[in-house]
Symmetry: C2
Subunit: 466 residues, 2 copies
């Protein structure tokens, strides 16, 4: 990209921001809410247009928001102590330890031995694994912490490493597949994501009852279809350079033999990893904070010298990720706190009043998805908008049950619409295999593809089974 | 160190922690306060004994405190969004940018050209620079952000680099000298540290009036003596490998000629750096948060491509520093919140009731200093204990004016008693030139040396001039 072109982009973004800032704001929301919206949307456009990296855009966005008094410094910094943000940072470090111990390589080789004939096959096997463990694993972020080190190891074993510029060989595709897969596995089960039961409760207050059985019955067909079609589409539009690896299983077998028995470091890592998985899965039942479990894992890996302090000192990537994610997280939360999201939701609900019911239905789901561009948390999005949209639908005489299900499924699969759209994306992106800009593009495509699949296959299916 | 020896140390520390945990706690404080004290003191002993690195000890300490319900996760994580913690992280990154741009090298060469004949001379010149700018610079942490990149560059230029194992050549000594120097420059002026005016106000409520003039009059002689003696003592006990460099000034002159005119990156960095210094110095007057100023500097360095995102990705050191400092900061704050510090202060005050006044005076100052082992913030220490100690002294009939001054000066120079004793230490330590364990040793020596100097030279001087 030429210097001049980049300068034009930067100036465009800055002018855009200033224009939005000074536009007359709707009387229903405060001037601070409007200004924060101006900063936030400019930050996001800056990344989409490629004028700034996500780190630079976020830092400058926060500085402007604070210096103009739109948000106070304490609030602006509060994202850094958010436990989801810290969970991601620590999970990232744990993933590195899993790889360094050799355990990651071993699990990767075992998976390649079993599923490694084609890259697409590996992608499907990752989604399948995720789907199977998901109902017992109510934190999608923790699940990303579990899957990520395995995919990272598969990539490294196959010679696909962003540090060497070979990320596109195979890693980028697998990372993106699994990142999107987490959205699908979360849509599949009521208990696969923390926000799902909360969403079911909101629906209950609108007279829609969704239990574990209803959910899986309704989600099964469209989710399985999406899980089959979407990776294949991604494979076409975001192809791995290595596609067929007929000899990979045999090679993996040989490598496994070469590795021999598990080393001390591998055994310790395996024990700690199993401990983490068990505690994460039980964390809601036992009421233990997920982030402190991650810190426990990190502490044990360090105390046993499996992961060395000097190795962490190389992991600046975790820091940059923490900075931009903490900032975007707080900007979006504040926008929500200032009732900006409610306002937009209500506005949409009013606009569709005069449309035919079917069109209104489709539009409600579509707009609900598009609004995720403004959110950095799936849960916050659902809490802010699900009720507003269901209420509007009931006023219009739309049957709330299929709509509630469609919105709840969307809450999960729209995770990849932006890099910050879900905390599960962050590990994958911070790995260097996927750029934020790619997420805007391919994540957007996958989200709208899923929207179509759930509408075409999900709606008739729901009307049959429920 | 042998594996067995390290294992013995680890077990000793764990047993110690368990014993303190189960000791009967004084009825005046809550069981949570006692348990937190047990965790905190064990963490610190773990580092002093060398059983764990400061990162591992802190992470495990936090995990235990949270899992036992001693502190809740939200509180435990809150240090990560503390603005002093973030200021250090960002200042660390800015320092790296100053070095990478070449500006650091240029300033370093200019200083070497002028003062570089001996390493001790360089050390004195750093303290002198600090002393001169201090009265206009009310944040000692921001001042460390200003001095650190210069010292870092001087060390690198002289071939002293922790990444190459050559930190002891010259860098370690200069870093330690300047780190301690900040304590002295802060003790020198009422306006050189944010806590000083607050301390003067507390003293006022005990009938002691300390203005800008009184302060500098009282502090001048003992502080100047300490600034002369302490670096020399450090030079003897923690010597740089390179001592005399008679040709360094000439060499620096030649290097400067080789560098030629300032590059684009240097000019931009210089402008941003001056901007930072001006804003930091004026931040209290203009009521701008110091951390957001630092973020502004970082954002501009990144946006102008002087500092590249891929360079930040190598700076994992900033992340490890952030983790341990955020944790220790919060543990100490919580101990204070839970009135543990008050309790200890009061206990001491009662114990000395029957001692002769002179002995009581010395003991009060000494105990005030020793208690800094428990604090991670000079301001918090002063806020918690200054009033308690002054009150006790007045009850005993001790003249509160010299005591107030001695305690206020100590609040500044005891900064190096532990690695976490002041936020100004953190940049120096995270650079890799100084280990936390060295701070416990040499920082302790410098603190008690200063105690003696201020007592022997400061007290008579104060009785003459005030």
């Amino acid at each position: 990209m030429g210097l001049a072109e980049n300068m034009v982009k930067k100036i465009t973004i800055i002018v855009l921001g200033i224009v939005i800032w000074f536009l007359p704001h709707p009387p229903e929301i405060s001037i601070d809410a409007w200004h924060l919206f101006a900063v936030f949307i400019t930050t996001i456009f800056g990344v989409i247009l490629g004028a700034f990296s996500i780190l630079v855009a976020s830092v400058l966005g926060m500085v402007i928001a604070v210096l103009t008094g739109t948000i106070d410094p304490k609030t602006a910094f509060s994202g850094f102590s958010n436990d989801i943000v810290l969970l991601i940072v620590v999970a990232f470090l744990i993933a590195k330890a899993v790889v360094r111990s050799g355990l990651g390589k071993r699990i990767a080789l075992l998976m390649i031995k079993r599923f490694g004939k084609t890259t697409l096959g590996l992608g499907y096997s990752l989604i399948a694994t995720d789907m199977i463990i998901a109902p017992a694993f109510p934190s999608n972020t923790a699940r990303s912490g579990l899957l990520f080190p395995i995919i990272y190891s598969i990539s490294i074993v196959n010679g696909s490493n962003p540090e060497k510029g070979t990320e596109k060989k195979l890693g980028s595709f697998l990372m993106f597949t699994s990142m999107f897969g987490i959205g699908l596995s979360s849509a599949m089960w009521l208990t696969a994501m923390a926000a799902n039961p909360a969403g079911a409760e909101i629906a209950e207050s609108y007279g829609v009852h969704i239990g574990f059985g209803t959910w899986i019955l309704a989600s099964s067909i469209p989710t399985i279809i999406a899980a089959i079609i979407a990776p294949w589409v991604l494979y076409k539009i975001y192809p791995p350079q290595i596609k067929d690896t007929p000899n990979a299983p045999l090679h993996a077998q040989k490598e496994l033999e070469k590795m021999g028995r598990m080393s001390r470091d591998e055994i310790i890592t395996a024990i700690i990893f199993v401990l983490l998985v068990v505690f994460w899965a039980l964390s809601d039942t036992l009421n233990i904070n997920k982030t402190i479990i991650a810190f426990l894992g990190l502490g044990l890996l360090l105390a046993t010298n499996v992961f060395k302090v000097k190795e962490i000192k190389k992991e600046g990537e975790a820091l940059t990720t923490m900075i931009w994610f903490a900032i975007l997280y707080i900007m979006s939360s504040q926008l929500n706190e200032l009732h900006f999201m409610d306002y937009v939701g209500n506005l949409m609900a009013v606009q569709i009043e005069f449309l035919p019911k079917q069109v209104a239905f489709v539009l409600l789901v579509f707009v609900y998805i598009v609004l995720h561009y403004l959110f950095v948390s799936q849960t916050a999005h659902m809490m802010a908008l699900l009720g507003v949209f269901l209420g509007a639908a009931i006023t219009l005489g739309i049957n709330p049950t299929p709509l509630a299900l469609m919105l709840l499924f969307a809450t999960n699969y729209f995770s990849v619409i932006t890099p910050q759209g879900s905390s599960c994306n962050i590990l994958y992106i911070s790995s260097g295999y996927i750029t934020p800009k790619e997420v805007y593009k391919y994540g957007g495509i996958l989200t709208f593809l899923s929207f179509i699949i759930y509408m075409i296959f999900g709606l008739p299916w729901i009307s049959i089974v429920l």
